[in-house]
Structures are given as structure tokens and as C-alpha cells.
């Protein structure tokens, strides 16, 4: 670099920058108000839609001139470390949407359409996809976002709230977003992490023969060394105090391919139960290591991210007898899955590359997620009319979602999906789980719905939500004013 010319240049650049800065500030001040309509995206998304539309072979998606469509933007992930979950979930989701189109011609006459954008479970990719998909598709407004990723959901909280787009984090996400007063657009449907451990505790109590029997018992939580893994530590401590059992939290560093030390510790501690809050490869390795150290698999209880076939099969024989929770039993016998088979799969339109995985845990999660989204749209249509709805209107639909057994029967999802009733203040609803056991081949249900002590958890959640509101300067909604 021949530097002797560059001093003067620098002087010039400094000046230029100064002027520029002023110009920018001024521009920024006025530009900040307006928000131009997307040119690039509008140009690009139709193509994208056709693409993944035809990929998903959705007749509606590729139908031109759609004036009467409701759009589902799918931030899917089909590659990378968590692809197994993504393909299953979004496969089930898409297949259910296809079913609704094929069988009922959409929701209240409004066709459902969707397009995919690969996030690879990476936060900024998810953000990029959100920004790309949020304008909707050929004028079809987007109903709700379902990123199935805690990280992405977090990054979307502010954006979605300003853009008025519901974010569905079914069975996961930020616990305190249950408080809809502070998080108007975030929906940790069915089960937040706190409810999860609470319900697990109740199940253990049941197995031990009553809550009072918990006293003096030893329980270990083996958790993934990540925010997700640590999230339930405080709640478990509270529960332990309440019921008088001992709890030991043991961390497995990401990714969790090595757990020798942890399981030796567990063996030394001699707990009666191990709650496994695993993630990806950590789960099979946990089961393997448990076997290595002679801990019985049927006293390990996997949580919502340790409960899929993909989590057990790699462990082979070591997985036999392993227990796990679920909000949506695996299997294809449920009428709704049969319907999907009849109207979608049998017509060769199924989204799954591997048809064997239809009815798997992740697939069924996708299906019930589809049901909940569609039901929310239907509910909203009752109020706003049978037309494509904005995110804000769909939000209302979610907040007034109320699915009872009767409705579940109509949906053909009795036993697959739990009763769920949301409200302005409660964005979770269900809080119930069932337990399944791995027989070496597939999951067998071993319990009916078991509920969490949601009243016990509520204050903790509200406290955390209030803290967040304070941090961000948010004034919580007054739900009595919501209609």
C-alpha cells in the first residue's frame, strides 16, 4: 500500500462523511415515517410460491389471480442439524392445509395458500424469511407465522408486534409470552416449558402413588446446555420445595455427543427418575449412556423435544422402555390422519419424502399445528366475515380459540389434540400432556391427559412478563377492554 497519497484523501473523506452524515440524518428523519411497499419481494415471492407450491403440489398455491386466499408463510427447515424435526412438522402442517383445501375447499370458502422459505433453524435466516414472506402472496394476506424455533421466535417478537403478525410457538418458546397482555402477538400454544415440568411432576407423583409420596424422592433433570435447557430450573426448584423432593440439575454441553461423566454422576446420585430435556443428538446419546451406566430407560422421561422417533431410533435397543411426554400421540389411526391419507396422500400429493414418517411425532405435531391455525382462522371468520383476514384479525381468532371435545370429535382429532381455550391473557390454553413409551418399534400411549398446575405457575409467569414489560417499556393490555 503506498500510503503517502492517502493523507489528503482522508481529509477529503472525513469532510465527505460529515456532510453525508448530516444528509443521512435528515433523510432518515423523513424516511423513517413512510414504509415503501416491497418491490423486490413482490417480484420474487410469486415465483417462490409457484416453486414451493408446485413442490408441495398444492393446487391452490399455483392458482393464479387469487383474490380469495389466506396465506400461510412457512419458515421451514429441511436441512441442517434439525432437519428431521422440520421435515416432519412442516410436512404434517402442509398436508393438513392440503386436506382442508381438498376436502372443504378451504376455510369458509377461502382457499389456503402457502410458500416455504428455508431457515435451516438459523435465526437470521428466519428473520430474512419473515421479512420476505410477511407481505403475503399475490395479495393473499398472511395469517400467522410458525417458525418452530425458539431463536427465530425471539427475533420476531418485536417485528411481529409492530407488523401485527401472530407468531405461533407451539409447545415451546418463551414461557412468559403466555401472558398475552404483554405479548399480544406471541402464542406458546398448548404447553409452555413450565407447564411441561409441572405436568411431568404430576405424572411422577401418579406413578409413585400420590403427591405425598414425592417427598424425599430424588429427581435429576439432564438438560441441554442452552437457554432452552436451563429454562425450567427455577420452576423445578419451586416444585421440589412444594412437594419436598430432591432435584439435581445436570448440564450436558452442546451438542451432547459425550455424556459419560453426567451419567456416572447420575448413577452415583441414585435418583428414582431422570427428566431428559434433550435436543437433537443429545437424546440418543443420553439413552446409550444410560444403558452404559446401567440406568433403566423406563425411568427416564423425555420432554417435548426428546419425544420423537428420531430421538430414540438411533439409540437402538437402549431406547426400549424409554418414557416421554407428548401433546399429540404418534400414530395414523386418528380419523384426521385417515382423512389426510384419503384426500392427500393417496392422491400422491403428500409432502413427506418418506411416507413411512406419516403419523410420526413430528408429523402429527405439524397436523395439530395446522388444525389450531385453521381453527383460529375459522374463529376469526365468525367475527370478521368469510374473507381473507389480516394477521391482526387472525390474532383475535387465536385469542378466542375454544376447542372442546365435541369440536375435537368433528375434527377427528379426539385424543390427538387436547381441549384448548385461549384468551387475551392466556396464550397457552391447554397445559395437558400424555405419556408414551418406546417399545423398540414405536410409541405406545401409557397415560391419559395429565394437567399441569397452571394456577401455581401463573404468578411466576406474570412476574417474568412484567419484568420484560418494564425492560422494554411496554404497558400491558387491559384484557377487560378486549372484545
Amino acid at each position: 500500500m503506498n500510503s503517502q497519497y492517502q493523507r489528503p484523501r482522508f481529509a477529503r473523506v472525513w469532510i465527505r462523511l460529515g456532510l453525508l452524515g448530516l444528509g443521512l440524518a435528515a433523510l432518515g428523519a423523513c424516511k423513517a415515517k413512510e414504509s415503501a411497499p416491497s418491490t423486490e419481494t413482490a417480484a420474487l415471492t410469486p415465483k417462490a410460491a409457484e416453486a414451493s407450491g408446485s413442490a408441495a403440489s398444492a393446487p391452490s398455491a399455483s392458482a393464479p389471480g387469487a383474490g380469495n386466499e389466506q396465506y400461510f408463510p412457512l419458515q421451514s427447515y429441511r436441512v441442517g442439524p434439525y432437519a428431521a424435526g422440520g421435515t416432519g412438522f412442516f410436512g404434517g402442517f402442509i398436508d393438513y392445509l392440503q386436506l382442508v383445501n381438498a376436502r372443504d375447499g378451504g376455510v369458509g370458502g377461502v382457499k389456503l395458500t402457502w410458500s416455504e422459505c428455508e431457515t435451516e433453524y438459523v435465526v437470521e435466516r428466519g428473520v430474512e424469511c419473515y421479512e420476505r414472506l410477511k407481505p403475503g402472496l399475490n395479495g393473499a394476506p398472511s395469517a400467522a407465522f410458525n417458525p418452530l424455533s425458539v431463536g427465530i421466535a425471539y427475533a420476531l417478537i418485536d417485528r411481529a408486534t409492530t407488523d401485527k403478525n401472530p407468531i405461533i410457538t407451539i409447545n415451546h418458546g418463551r414461557t412468559d409470552s403466555t401472558d398475552g397482555r404483554v405479548f399480544p402477538y406471541i402464542f406458546p400454544l398448548q404447553l409452555n416449558p413450565y407447564s411441561e415440568v409441572s405436568a411431568i411432576t404430576n405424572y411422577i407423583a401418579q406413578r409413585e402413588g400420590g403427591v405425598e409420596k414425592l417427598a424425599g424422592k430424588k429427581i435429576v433433570t439432564l438438560y441441554h446446555g442452552s437457554p432452552y435447557g436451563k429454562e425450567t430450573i427455577p420452576v423445578l426448584d419451586i416444585l421440589a420445595k412444594k412437594y419436598g423432593f430432591e432435584v439435581k440439575h445436570i448440564e450436558v454441553p452442546h451438542p451432547g455427543t459425550e455424556q459419560q461423566a453426567q451419567w456416572l454422576e447420575i448413577r452415583r446420585y441414585q435418583p428414582s427418575w431422570v427428566i431428559l430435556r434433550g435436543w437433537g443428538v443429545m437424546n440418543p446419546v443420553a439413552l446409550k449412556s444410560a444403558q452404559k451406566t446401567g440406568f433403566p430407560a423406563d425411568h427416564i422421561i423425555g420432554n417435548i423435544w426428546s419425544n420423537s422417533e428420531e430421538d430414540v431410533t438411533p439409540a437402538g435397543a437402549a431406547g426400549k422402555g424409554y418414557l416421554s411426554i407428548t401433546t399429540h400421540p404418534a400414530g395414523r389411526d386418528f380419523p384426521v390422519i385417515q382423512e389426510i391419507d384419503k384426500h392427500v396422500l393417496s392422491k400422491g400429493k403428500g409432502n413427506m419424502d418418506d411416507p413411512k414418517r406419516v403419523g410420526s411425532v413430528y408429523y402429527n405435531l405439524g397436523v395439530i399445528n395446522g388444525i389450531l391455525n385453521v381453527e383460529a382462522v375459522a374463529t376469526a371468520q365468525k367475527k370478521f366475515g368469510k374473507k381473507p383476514l389480516t394477521g391482526e384479525q387472525v390474532r383475535w381468532g387465536f385469542e378466542n380459540l375454544n376447542i372442546d371435545d365435541a369440536r375435537l370429535k368433528e375434527l377427528g382429532a379426539l385424543g390427538l389434540l387436547q381441549q384448548i381455550k385461549l384468551s387475551c391473557a392466556d396464550h397457552e390454553g391447554g397445559g395437558r400432556i400424555r405419556f408414551q413409551q418406546w417399545d423398540g418399534e414405536k410409541w405406545q400411549l401409557v397415560s391419559d391427559w395429565i394437567a399441569a398446575d397452571r394456577d401455581l405457575l401463573r404468578p411466576i409467569i406474570e412476574e417474568s412478563a412484567a419484568k420484560y414489560a418494564k425492560e422494554k417499556g411496554i404497558t400491558p393490555r387491559d384484557c377487560s377492554k378486549e372484545t
Partner: protein, 362 residues
């Protein structure tokens, strides 16, 4: 140096023009991450490209910066936003110095162990100690409102201006630092440590300084990442993968080139999006999302190889070559070639001969 300025100006002009055409999507998904990553790349380039110390810990320093700024901002309410940016960067540079200490003894690839240790330790510490994330149950921090001099920069455009301002300022400072005696010390250490030592370059202090400055830049990039881009960040979001991403930026852009950091960042940010759009458009979905993504991985990897094989000095070099070609056609004189005849030499030799004669007569 001279080859760095025109791209810089071009960039500034582009940046100025951007808001006239760009929309939310471009700000939120392309421009802001581009400038943020470019800054991180610049940070790493100072350490690796200029001072020759290979580092795989950039993301860790970004994380430190982000969490530090968050906590300063949270716990000292009256602190102005930009001040917390700076403090975030300074904290990062302290951590950087700490993990730079081994560079006194450890050289070459062995040194990556130090930065990798930083990478994993920082991530662990930030997840482990809830205090860092203000006891957020999920250990995630969320950005405060971005108010600078009473102006609210929270809108996409606002965040863009804020990012642009910070990045532009720091870039200028970096270019002038790297053209200064300090910058030459960095490069001396990189090119021939022993020679530098016998010339009185304080090797250890120079290396530590490189670590400090580099981490400062990465730290501020981390703050922008958390505050201006995502509005939130969890330790896992700034893991080894990110460090590699930053490394790719400077490899593709050009080691030891300020402009390269920007070119590389542009490449890294735009390529996936571009490939995605192209694939959707051209292949008309004959490929499902999964394979599409794999295809992207393949293309990306191949491009990296292509660069290393064809143009090891990166995009920056390509640009220079191009501009040289143009310039040479326009004003051939300004570019002395290495093969220039050594006329001066004989002249000076003559001069010396006279000198000797005088001296002998005396």
C-alpha cells in the same frame, strides 16, 4: 491504501442511495446484516489479515460486546446509547486481550486453540450465569429502544442509519490506523516477526493491541447485531458457525484489505438469498426446499474453493486488478511497474564516485 479509498467512497454513495430504492425487507434482511458483518469482518481482518494472528473466536467477542452493551444500557439507565455501544466494544477488547496473551508464546495454527477456548468459554459463561441476561428464563437479551440524541432509530430505516453511521466511522478510523506506524507494525509482525523484533517493534504489545482493536470492532459488530439487526440475541446465535462465517468473509473478501471485509460481507449475505431466489425462479420448484438448500451448500463451498484457487487475494484484489486495468489505459504513468529501468541507480553511483575522490584527496 490508495486502492482502498475508491471502493469506500463507492460504498458510501451506495449507502446514501439505498433508502431511495430499498424497503423494509432490504433494510432488515440485507443491508443491516451486511454492514454489521462487514464490521465484524473488518475486526477479524485487523487481527488475521494485518497482524497475522489466526482467530476462530470472532463470534465470542461479538457476544461479549452484545451482552456487555445490553447490561451497561440496562444497569446504567442514564447512559447514552452510543456510550453503551463503546463500552460493549471495550469490554470485548478486554476479553480479547485476555485470550490474546498466549500469542506471546503460541504461533500459527496452535493459536486457534486460544480463540476457540474463548469461543466456547464465553458461550458457556453467558448461558451459565443468568445475570448476564438479566435473569431472563431463556437467557436471551432483547434490545432497548434505540434513541440517540433524542431521535428514535427503532424503525428499519432508523436502524439502518444507526448501523451505517457506526460502521462508516469505525471503518475510517481503521483505515487510518492501518496506514499508520501502528498498522505497519501489525504487518511487520505478520510478515517477519524476527526482523520486526530486531527493529524494535514491541512484538507482544503489538499483538495484544491487534487483539484489542480487533475484538473492539467485533464487539461493536455484536452490539449492532443484537440491537440494530435482530433486536435480540442468545449466546447460541453467536457460536462457532458465526466465527467461521466471519472468517469466510475476510477470505473471500481479501485478507489484509479493508475494502475486502465489505466485499466479503456482501458476498456472504447476498449469496444465499440470491441463490434462493434464483433457484426458486429458474428451477420452478423442480427442487424441494431441502435439496435446494443442499445445492446452496454445494455452490457456496465450491465458490470458496474457486476463490482460493483462482484469486487467493479475494474480491478486493479482483477489484484492484480491474481498476488498475482501467486506470492504466487512462493514465499509464501513475503506475510504476516493478520492471521499470533502474536509471537513477547509475546516476547515484556516479555521485558516490565523486564523493570517494573528494574523500581520498583529503
Amino acid at each position: 491504501m490508495s486502492r482502498r479509498i475508491p471502493p469506500a467512497l463507492a460504498l458510501l454513495l451506495l449507502a446514501l442511495a439505498a433508502p431511495l430504492v430499498a424497503d423494509d425487507y432490504w433494510f432488515n434482511a440485507i443491508l443491516i446484516p451486511f454492514f454489521t458483518l462487514a464490521l465484524a469482518g473488518l475486526g477479524l481482518n485487523i487481527l488475521t489479515g494485518f497482524a497475522g494472528q489466526l482467530s476462530l473466536g470472532s463470534a465470542a467477542f461479538m457476544a461479549v460486546g452484545a451482552f456487555a452493551a445490553y447490561n451497561f444500557n440496562l444497569r446504567i439507565p442514564e447512559l447514552p446509547l452510543l456510550a453503551s455501544f463503546a463500552l460493549g466494544g471495550l469490554t470485548a477488547s478486554l476479553v480479547g486481550i485476555a485470550f490474546g496473551l498466549p500469542s506471546l508464546r503460541i504461533k500459527g495454527f496452535y493459536l486457534i486453540v486460544s480463540t476457540l477456548a474463548a469461543q466456547f468459554f464465553v458461550q458457556w459463561a453467558l448461558t451459565k450465569f443468568a445475570w448476564f441476561s438479566n435473569d431472563n428464563p431463556s437467557g436471551v437479551i432483547t434490545a432497548p429502544r434505540l434513541i440517540v440524541f433524542g431521535h428514535d432509530f427503532s424503525t428499519p430505516v432508523g436502524r439502518y442509519w444507526l448501523t451505517l453511521g457506526v460502521v462508516a466511522g469505525l471503518t475510517l478510523a481503521a483505515s487510518s490506523l492501518l496506514a499508520s506506524p501502528t498498522g505497519r507494525r501489525f504487518m511487520a509482525v505478520r510478515d517477519m516477526e524476527t526482523a520486526a523484533r530486531v527493529m524494535g517493534v514491541p512484538i507482544f504489545r503489538t499483538k495484544l493491541l491487534a487483539f484489542a482493536v480487533s475484538s473492539f470492532y467485533c464487539g461493536v459488530a455484536g452490539v449492532l447485531w443484537a440491537f440494530c439487526y435482530l433486536g435480540t440475541v442468545e449466546p447460541h446465535g453467536l457460536d462457532l458457525t458465526r466465527s467461521f462465517q466471519v472468517l469466510f468473509i475476510i477470505i473471500i473478501g481479501g485478507l489484509g484489505s479493508v475494502a475486502g471485509s465489505f466485499l466479503g460481507a456482501a458476498f456472504i449475505v447476498l449469496l444465499p438469498v440470491l441463490l434462493d431466489h434464483v433457484a426458486h425462479g429458474v428451477l420452478e420448484g423442480s427442487l424441494d426446499a431441502g435439496n435446494l438448500e443442499n445445492a446452496q451448500k454445494l455452490v457456496f463451498g465450491s465458490l470458496i474453493l474457486l476463490f482460493l484457487i483462482k484469486e487467493p487475494e479475494g474480491l478486493a484484489r479482483l477489484l484492484t486488478v480491474a481498476s488498475r486495468a482501467v486506470a492504466q489505459r487512462l493514465l499509464p504513468r501513475n503506475f510504476p511497474r516493478a520492471s521499470a529501468p533502474i536509471t537513477v541507480l547509475t546516476a547515484t553511483t556516479e555521485a558516490r564516485r565523486d564523493l570517494f575522490r573528494k574523500w581520498r584527496q583529503s
